[in-house]
Symmetry: C2
Subunit: 535 residues, 2 copies
């Protein structure tokens, strides 16, 4: 790890040197060089692909108008290929998608929801936040004119709730985190004093570590984590500091270790240290779907909607894609091109007749998809801001909904606002997906009310839900590779198979993120272009 840039290397800046190494030796050499120069590797993105010189008349059909597909189309078209995109829906963007008032959504099973949110409010059923190190996505957002605003990921003042702790009462994250750290610090200090770590630590390190524990854990001079202004300085006060005659603060009582352990607060603390969850994060102004719309504007002439692909056959002369045109009563049509970039989610692709190698076929069927459930709940007013001083961020719970998340736009505004009322995974998502949309909303209200009992039902206006296992065009949210499946199938999935290459978040190690879809797409088209150039 290091600074963002280096000293002058004989008239060459580190940046220039790295660029040169990258051009000469490719990505692997570049990363080796960056690492040996202690450069913080933030991303595998090295700028947009520099493809050019497609053979005259060379053509590509891109399957799927999600971000991976549209990026492939955009860059291949720039390189000189004739490109056509076939998209099943009548909307580009794929899982990059926002639901607004007036929108209608029909899930598998036939339930249709009519979204009733006020103008400007939305639910992002799929992606909803952009890490600062997702440089590919940030690059194209800027290039395609997508305005971004901060996504408040980390909020000390939001709640954490575990049904097994504090009699089911939520507590503020800051208080639980402070108490967890205070207890850990006190216990480690005791262990040092009892000489339990003399084999591991020098005398000097023991002294420095004790100083660190005292400052970090807000311990008193005797290395105890106790009620007082010091610990309240992290966990919060019974009466906070104020002005005038009654200005003096009154400290709060720390929780007992047993309660802290029951809360499992460390899972939340660790969550925020997760590389993909670290601050600073962003979201598009107006909803995540703005990104899909911006990409679509770039590839507008290549887009063909309502195309349900049923068959993909390649031979020595090219690839033929057969599809039903859903906007023309299902008329069977076909397209032909030299190459295909297929970004269709694996659960759908697995049902399509495609002649690729047995290894790729096996890989396509080897990757399970997760089935998250997200819900938007529109409330009459921002009671979480007005009453609870919570501006953005998440309140986590051990219940099925997993969390509620507060909107990061229009802070302080009067009038209706949309909360994320659930972001369920695993068993919780399975249970919620099994309900009707109305039942889901009822469950989300019942569970989310634990955080704001006085207001949650009273202020509720309307809701919308997307259970990804019931989304007709993906049959799941995103690829969840196991370690074993990676070993057996990943390289077979991403390899160029004669005239066909797959792309999407499923063909990446950044699964479930837009960045994975884009990095996969760049890698896939770079290899396809190389293959096409050598053909």
């Amino acid at each position: 790890m290091g600074t963002d840039s280096g000293q002058d290397l004989g008239g060459t800046t580190r940046r220039q040197l790295l660029t040169r190494i990258g051009m000469l030796g490719g990505t692997a050499a570049l990363y080796q060089a960056m690492t040996s120069m202690a450069h913080a590797a933030e991303t595998q993105f090295a700028g947009p692909p520099k493809l050019s010189g497609a053979k005259p008349g060379a053509s590509v059909i891109v399957l799927g108008a999600g971000l991976a597909g549209m990026l492939a189309a955009y860059e291949l078209n720039k390189a000189g290929y004739a490109v056509k995109i076939l998209e099943y829906q009548n909307r580009a963007g794929g899982r990059n998608w926002s639901l607004y008032g007036g929108d209608t959504y029909t899930e598998l099973g036939g339930a249709t929801q009519h979204v009733k949110f006020a103008p400007g409010n939305y639910l992002n059923p799929g992606p909803w936040r952009i890490p600062h190190h997702h440089r590919t996505l940030l690059h194209y957002c800027k290039a395609f004119g997508v305005a971004l605003e901060p996504f408040i990921q980390f909020n000390h003042n939001a709640y954490a709730h575990n049904v097994d702790a504090f009699g089911g009462k939520p507590q503020r994250f800051k208080a639980l985190a402070a108490d967890f750290e205070g207890n850990v610090a006190e216990l480690l200090g005791k262990a040092i004093d009892q000489k339990a770590l003399d084999a591991q630590l020098t005398a000097e390190d023991r002294d420095r570590l004790k100083e660190a524990l005292r400052d970090w854990g807000m311990l008193d001079k005797d290395m105890r984590y106790v009620k007082g202004l010091k610990s309240s300085g992290h966990r919060g006060y019974d009466r906070p500091p104020g002005g005038g005659v009654n200005g003096a603060p009154i400290p709060s009582e720390p929780f007992k270790l047993d309660d802290i352990l029951n809360s499992r607060i460390w899972t939340n603390i660790a969550f925020f240290m997760n590389d993909e969850m670290q601050t600073t994060m962003f979201q598009p102004v107006g909803g995540m779907g703005m990104i899909g719309k911006a990409f679509a504007r770039q590839v507008e002439p290549m887009l063909n909607y309502g195309a349900k692909v049923t068959r993909i056959r390649q031979d020595k002369k090219g690839v033929t894609v057969t599809y039903s045109d859903m906007n023309s009563s299902g008329t069977v049509k076909s397209g032909h091109a030299d190459y295909v970039v297929c970004t269709i989610p694996l659960g759908i692709l697995n049902q399509i007749d495609i002649n690729v190698s047995p290894e790729m076929r096996e890989a396509i069927s080897a990757v399970p998809y997760s089935g998250q459930v997200k819900m938007g709940l529109e409330m009459k007013r921002r009671f979480w801001e007005e009453d609870a001083a919570i501006y953005g961020g998440h309140s986590f719970t051990s219940q099925d909904i997993a969390l509620i998340s507060y909107p990061n736009y229009n802070f302080f505004k009067d009038g209706p606002a949309v909360l994320l009322g659930a972001f369920a995974n695993g068993l919780g998502a399975y249970r919620l997906a099994g309900m009707t949309p109305d039942e889901r909303i009822e469950a989300a209200l019942a569970q989310g009310a634990v955080f704001h009992p006085e207001s949650y039902r009273k202020e509720f206006l309307s809701g919308a839900s997307v259970a990804w296992s019931r989304v007709p065009w993906t049959l799941g949210c995103c690829a969840r590779w196991s370690e074993e499946a990676r070993k057996a199938h990943y390289q077979n999935l991403v390899a160029v198979n004669d005239r066909i290459v797959l792309a999407g978040e499923h063909a990446s190690y950044v699964g479930c993120w837009m960045e994975g879809a884009l990095l996969s797409s760049i890698d896939a088209i770079t290899r396809l272009h190389k293959r096409a150039s050598e053909a």
Copy 2:
């Protein structure tokens, strides 16, 4: 701590009950009730003061048009008092202040700076961030139409630098924090295994704590913090996850405990857990000075600029304030009113002839002021965003400048942007204040370049600095009460002294924050109004 609201209490919501307790028993009773109801006490703000019924013809002179003074004027005027504000500067807002291109600032000693920033860019010499629990300030920002936007306080990807660690090389906060936590977790796990804590912990707690340490500290199955994908998931990778053929991540090597201790990273980790530094934070769109301007619009007719107060005399009939009108060649003038609310900073007030009690006089001279130095450096481009993926937040250093902070507005924008190049305290501030403005900029460039060596000087355009010990109208930044001074003098300072009451951040326990000034002002005028009503 608890949820923001309570269950129904016999037909009365907790909010209603608390309001009633507050009205009957005052603030102290309210806080006792809130605490016993496990309500998270976020603030001493209980809504704007409800003053009314000033005696006909009753008058107040407010000294100082900072936030405390303008709020006092606004609320007392609403209550029926005839109010006049005397302000030394030709600008309202006081320390709530932004410097823009075209502004000129002359410090004590005579050095004048002409600010050259591009339109829209600014330096906030004084306050620059608003905690979510500063409810008084947030209330009036909304009431007076000040647009707020998120202030990125916490950025995992910013740097930490200590001259004694890593050969003087900065490291990313995330890597240092992850390694500190990983080492603490591993060591505490070892101590538990060595039965050093069997007296403190039950067997069940030991097991649960070990599980917690494993998850929180990213330890392997043998409870060791080692190089691997798990620890890299917090500290960052040598090659991060990507897409396609080379998508697999390559883990990074954790730092040695000795280096982590040298970095003193725990001070930064603890900083972010400080109650006043916790997320979510805000800033006004367009610069902090927008708040002072908004307050000024509310009290416009009462404002009198260029008034240098020299004498404040109270007797049985009222208070006479003598001042030089600096906008009229220093002509000596005087004003007379029934009461005075004095918000003049103590270092200035201490030099003014004022007949208050000996106890208040002593209190006025008992409180030292801090002398922070802040600097704005305009750079040609946002290299911290473009090259280092740092969007807002702070990079801390053990050098005099203490930190550099990245702008939280116009993210991703091309063209010049202003970094906070220093926020120095203590000895560092003393040294920087002793320099000429040009020397300060040179020092800030030399020290700040440690974070962005390739770009810092190359991209520099112009700078501005404010050394608060040299600010003519405050002679310091803000009050720094010692515990002893609090005991001896605080109540004497805030007590209504016949017809005079003091207000400002110095008359609060939220020193150096705008919230302290406002809470102090509300408390002071509430007591003054009571005294006036009883007179």
